[in-house]
């Protein structure tokens, strides 16, 4: 609509007539249309500066008009930002030719990309590598299998060992350990850093530590320089101390930094101010054949509805207000949400007892909790107090659940669920298509 060029003969006439009292205003208006930039000020017929408040500002991401008095974003239209984004990358490019030492990192690469914890661990590795500006170390990342990550250098990787092959696919800790042992022989890294994440670095890192006979620091969440030790031996690992979680997360252990470090998420800031070379390196000798005693037989299909409530991150919970149970169960299936229930729904026999949420049922810690037709008895609200986002679908706008909810939609729950199911199905289909296209 906006792009259609509509001509207004009267305004064009005024624009030509320099003596017309509205001449300046019309010029401003037309200029805005043509150049795509607002000119909200002009000199009025009486010599006063006129301002058009409607021409000021821009439409923000939420669809609201935002006015930025600094003027920086006044003309921020879509095309403009694209230009700016492409224009400059101010990040400093760093290339370490002859590293003094190597810090090895084995990121999880879950889903073929660097996870946020991987980036944090790489940030931690950079801290260790860059501690002495005169003798910088190199961060060596060891990657297994195919990956889709294209910002490896941006994440702080100097050297990249990319090991491909079927033997590393799935759960292959023995083959991966053999590869890490080859790295150990070839580069003898000063530090091994792995994310302490279940089934990822936590497993591999402990295997490595046990094999090379190093006592690792696990659950590390902070790194600092030991003042007393640093004076004598600056830059070397003797000066580093780490703070690690122990005893099932109930203790903090302060200890000198060992060679093998398993770090928690947010252990350090990820790298974002520098770009690194991520130069590929290869092992000089072929990996030895390993005797596989563990065989991965593939994933087992699990019904998301059956996931334990306490573990679930997305719960669709049903209460007394649900009349269309078929629709509810279908919605849970389509949304791939774990099913929950209020006490009443359980008492009435619509849901099994192990699905009951609340002080008398299960205390849940979901990221998103959708309460369908639950009025919100105090025991229920107590049970969901650790949920991040609560969505209420309810007929009664005055109930306690609506008051608690971050988003409440009032109306007929079965219709809303149906509409939601339709939306999600369409979304899934689009995703499928785009995946097929790619």
């Amino acid at each position: 609509m906006k792009d259609d060029l509509r001509r207004d003969p009267r305004k064009e006439w005024i624009a030509r007539n320099r003596l017309h009292p509205d001449h300046q205003r019309v010029l401003a208006e037309l200029g805005q249309l043509e150049r795509g930039a607002a000119s909200a000020e002009w000199l009025g017929p009486n010599g006063l500066t006129r301002r058009d408040p409607h021409a000021v500002g821009f439409i923000g991401p939420n669809g609201l008009k935002r006015i930025d008095r600094s003027g920086a974003q006044q003309a921020a239209t879509a095309s403009d930002t694209r230009q700016r984004g492409a224009a400059v990358d101010t990040r400093q490019s760093i290339n370490i030719e002859t590293p003094a030492f190597v810090v090895a990192v084995v990121p999880d690469m879950s889903g073929g990309r660097l996870s946020s914890q991987d980036r944090d661990v790489l940030g931690l590795a950079r801290q260790l590598a860059d501690a002495d500006p005169a003798r910088p170390g190199a961060v060596l990342a060891v990657l297994f299998g195919e990956h889709k990550e294209d910002s490896l250098g941006e994440a702080g990787i100097d050297r990249l060992l990319h090991l491909e092959g079927d033997e590393f696919a799935g759960y292959a800790p023995e083959a991966r350990l053999a590869a890490l042992m080859a790295v150990e022989r070839e580069w003898a890294p000063r530090h091994w850093l792995l994310p302490d994440s279940a089934l990822g670095g936590a497993d591999l890192g402990r295997r490595l530590a046990a094999r090379i006979g190093e006592r690792p620091a696990t659950g590390v969440w902070q790194l600092n320089v030991n003042e007393s030790a640093a004076t004598g031996n600056a830059g070397s690992s003797q000066g580093w101390q780490c703070l690690a979680r122990g005893a099932a997360g109930t203790r903090d252990i302060l200890r000198p930094l060992p060679r093998v470090v398993l770090a928690l998420a947010e252990c350090a800031e990820p790298v974002y101010e520098t770009r690194h070379a991520a130069r590929r390196v290869e092992l000089s000798e072929a990996l030895p054949e390993t005797l596989g005693r563990i065989t991965d037989m593939g994933a087992v299909a699990v019904d998301p509805a059956g996931v334990a409530l306490a573990e679930a991150e997305f719960i669709l919970s049903a209460g007394n207000g649900v009349k269309d149970w078929e629709g509810y169960h279908r919605a849970a299936e389509v949304l791939q949400a774990t099913k929950g229930a209020s006490r009443v729904a359980v008492d009435d026999g619509f849901m099994p007892r192990d699905r009951q949420v609340g002080a008398t049922g299960t205390w849940v810690t979901a990221r998103v909790y959708v309460a369908v037709g639950i009025s919100g008895a105090i025991q229920h609200l107590q049970g969901i107090q650790n949920c991040d986002k609560v969505v209420a679908i309810n007929f009664d706008g005055g109930c306690d659940m609506v008051k608690r909810a971050d988003l409440a939609v009032l109306g007929d729950s079965s219709q809303i669920l149906d509409a939601l199911v339709a939306l999600v199905e369409r979304y899934r289909q689009q995703q499928q298509e785009s995946r097929d296209a790619a």
Binding site: N320, R343, V344, D347, R353, A359, T360, A377, I378, Q379, Q382
Partner: protein, 673 residues
């Protein structure tokens, strides 16, 4: 001819009865020993029978009168018959004549009674057992009629050689039938067993205190018996019938299968698999050995509807009562879910005319399941673990117990060391709903200027839930630590708004060395009002009914004080049909919400229907459990409020100032004089 036959009949019946009695006593003695003073107990029996038992029976006037006529007639007739017909003292002149006439009167009286017994069973109400019990009225009639007729010649109304030998034989047959049922059957397991076992049960009752009339003495005993956990050989609860004490087994044998317990049991009404009458009969089956196939009353309800079939369960004195869960789905005497359905509300115990202790037996069996098998159902195990690790059933940080009162500025015992009243808050301190009640109670106490203090984070769960779930070890651990905490401070009374804590502190800590003067808040508020320390506005709301908490009412006999408080507010209580000692449980006692045995409906829903029937807009309660359970009812017509909340709302705000100025005045006057 009858002269010869009758003594033979009478004495052989008596002899057989004596043999049966010995056999029965041997059955009872399979149980564990429990020493009793025999002579003293037997001497106490008539009073217990005539006063305590009759007090319960008399709640049903019809059956009470019937029983007086039948039982009184029978006892008199039996004794006189032995004298007249057995020993031949029936000569028509002198004393014998009088005896004969008396026997006629007694048997006639019994006959009239037995007519009413028969009438009650046409048709029998569902709570009564059928089977052999259906023939009992006929047997009673046979006995009384037979004795009446054979006595007529003795007193000379009819000629001694009346009729032929055929008639004599017929009469002898009728008398023999009557004797068989009444004398032989009494000790060989017939319906009349209740008279024999019942009499001895009254004498050797496991809880003789319960018959005490002494005020302030042992009084009504309702506490559970503590287990001796220091003795490693002492059994932990009851796993087989022989693990009961002998007088418990005797008590089970006394059951008359009247089904009053069944009619009162909330779990049975809710369709949960419990029927107290059947449970007691199952214990008798276990004691004797065999299966429950001969049981003729209502069986256990099945959760999916209808009843569990009879005849599939059985056992013996040494076998398990509850089948082991890993024993391939087999059955034993009862299913575990039967034992876990009980809310320990004691409605059955209150109703039982034979003074049987159902709830204690159930908890004894639960103790075995929890302490030996580790098999507390559903959330039971988790709750017990929480109690062990955090001293509260919810698993909350014990250091946050007092967080609710951050804005209340409550005096702590740890700071004060002494106070007149120790306010026991209970585990409701973790529950947001109950915190409202606690705030209200604090407000009331402050208005009455009560010198009180709380334990704060030093308080622990009282141990009630652990004990009802059978975890005696955790109960005793909690109780001992609570007693140790309480012993550090000086106070006159404990006041609490939780009847469960109230009961446990008052009646169950004694066995572990803690003796306190404990008040439920309703009692204490009533006393405050009576002594003029509370100035209350009149009630302006709608109609109100009151729900008696089991642990306040039936357990501790406090029915009056809450009603007095409501009266003081100007409320006229619209009583429910089931109120006072017949109050129906809310379903929240005995860990029932934790073990959560499915039924056809929920107990609190039924209780709320009772409330609805009165048309009351508000139901006043005095228990956090009752509040939680009744508020959990969906679409209830009545609001649920604790008595403390009602009183707090009705406080005259200026009353405190009034009193302060009055006191100032008084002190001035004192100065002047």
């Amino acid at each position: 001819m009858l002269d010869i036959l009758l003594p033979i009949l009478i004495f052989s019946a008596l002899a057989l009865a004596a043999i049966g009695a010995l056999r029965r006593v041997r059955l009872w003695r399979q149980g564990r020993p429990s020493p009793v003073p025999i002579a003293k107990s037997l001497a106490a029996m008539p009073r217990r029978y005539l006063v305590d038992l009759h007090h319960v029976v008399a709640r049903d006037k019809y059956i009470s009168n019937t029983h007086v006529a039948t039982a009184g007639g029978f006892v008199a007739a039996a004794v006189l018959m032995i004298l007249v017909h057995g020993l031949g003292l029936g000569a028509s002149e002198g004393l014998g004549g009088v005896l004969g006439w008396l026997l006629l009167v007694a048997s006639a009286c019994m006959f009239v009674g037995s007519l009413f017994v028969a009438k009650r069973r046409r048709p029998p109400p569902p709570r009564l057992s059928k089977g052999p019990w259906m023939r009992l009225p006929k047997s009673l009639m046979a006995f009384s009629l037979g004795v009446f007729v054979i006595t007529l010649p003795s007193v000379g109304v009819l000629p001694a050689d009346l009729g032929s030998w055929v008639l004599a034989l017929v009469l002898a047959g009728i008398v023999a039938w009557g004797l068989a049922e009444m004398v032989f059957g009494m000790t060989w397991g017939g319906p009349m067993k209740h008279a024999f076992a019942g009499a001895l049960h009254l004498a050797f009752h496991r809880r003789p205190e319960r018959f005490s009339t002494q005020e302030g003495g042992p009084g009504r005993s309702t506490g559970l018996k503590a287990l001796d956990l220091d003795d490693e050989r002492a059994p932990l609860g009851v796993g087989a019938p022989r693990d009961f004490t002998w007088n418990q087994l005797l008590g089970f044998d006394a059951c008359v299968q009247c089904g009053r317990c069944e009619a009162a049991c909330p779990a049975f009404a809710a369709g949960q698999p419990l029927n107290p009458k059947k449970l007691i009969q199952d214990m008798v089956v276990g004691m004797v050995g065999g299966s429950d196939a001969h049981y003729a009353g209502s069986p256990y309800p099945a959760p999916e509807g209808g009843y569990k079939p009879v005849g599939e369960h059985g056992g013996d004195p040494h076998g398990p009562i509850v089948a082991h869960p890993f024993a391939n789905g087999g059955t034993a005497l009862v299913d575990a879910e039967t034992l876990w359905s009980c809310t320990t509300c004691r409605a059955c115990v209150e109703e039982c005319p034979m003074m049987i202790e159902h709830v204690d037996a159930i908890v004894d069996m639960r103790r075995f399941l929890t302490l030996e098998r580790g098999n507390t159902p559903n959330k039971g195990g988790e709750v017990l673990d929480n109690l062990i690790a955090t001293d509260n059933p919810g698993g909350f940080d014990p250091g946050s117990r007092f967080n609710w009162a951050a804005d209340q500025n409550l005096p702590l015992m740890a700071d004060r060391q002494e106070a007149d009243v120790l306010l026991w808050l209970g585990d409701g301190a973790f529950d947001m709903r109950n915190q409202r009640t606690l705030r209200a109670l604090v407000k009331v106490l402050r208005a009455a200027e009560v010198d009180f203090a709380v334990l704060g984070n030093e308080e622990r769960d009282s141990g009630d839930v652990a004990r009802r779930l059978g975890d005696e070890a955790t109960f005793q651990s909690l109780a001992r630590r609570n007693i140790a905490t309480l012993s550090r401070y000086r106070f006159t009374h404990i006041v609490t708004c939780d009847p469960h804590s109230f009961h446990v502190l008052k009646n169950e800590y004694g066995a572990l060395g803690g003796h306190y003067s404990v008040f439920h808040h309703s009692t204490y508020i009533a006393e405050l009002f009576d002594s003029g320390r509370l100035n209350l506005k009149a009630w302006k709301g709608g109609s109100v009914t009151y729900h008696d908490p089991c642990y306040l009412g039936r357990y501790n006999g406090e029915y009056e004080a809450p009603r007095r408080v409501l009266q003081a507010l100007g409320i006229e209580v619209k009583e429910m049909a089931r109120s006072g000692y017949r109050s129906r449980c809310c379903g929240g006692g005995g860990g029932a919400p934790i073990t959560d045995v499915p039924g056809k409906r929920r107990i609190p829903d039924m209780r709320m229907e009772d409330v609805n029937e009165t048309g009351a807009e508000l139901v006043a309660v005095g228990c956090p459990q009752c509040t939680a359970m009744l508020e959990g009812v969906v679409n209830a017509s009545a609001e649920v409020r604790d008595i403390a909340e009602l009183v707090a709302e009705a406080l005259n705000e200026d009353s405190a100032q009034d009193r302060a100025s009055r006191r100032a005045q008084q002190s001035e006057e004192a100065l002047v004089s």
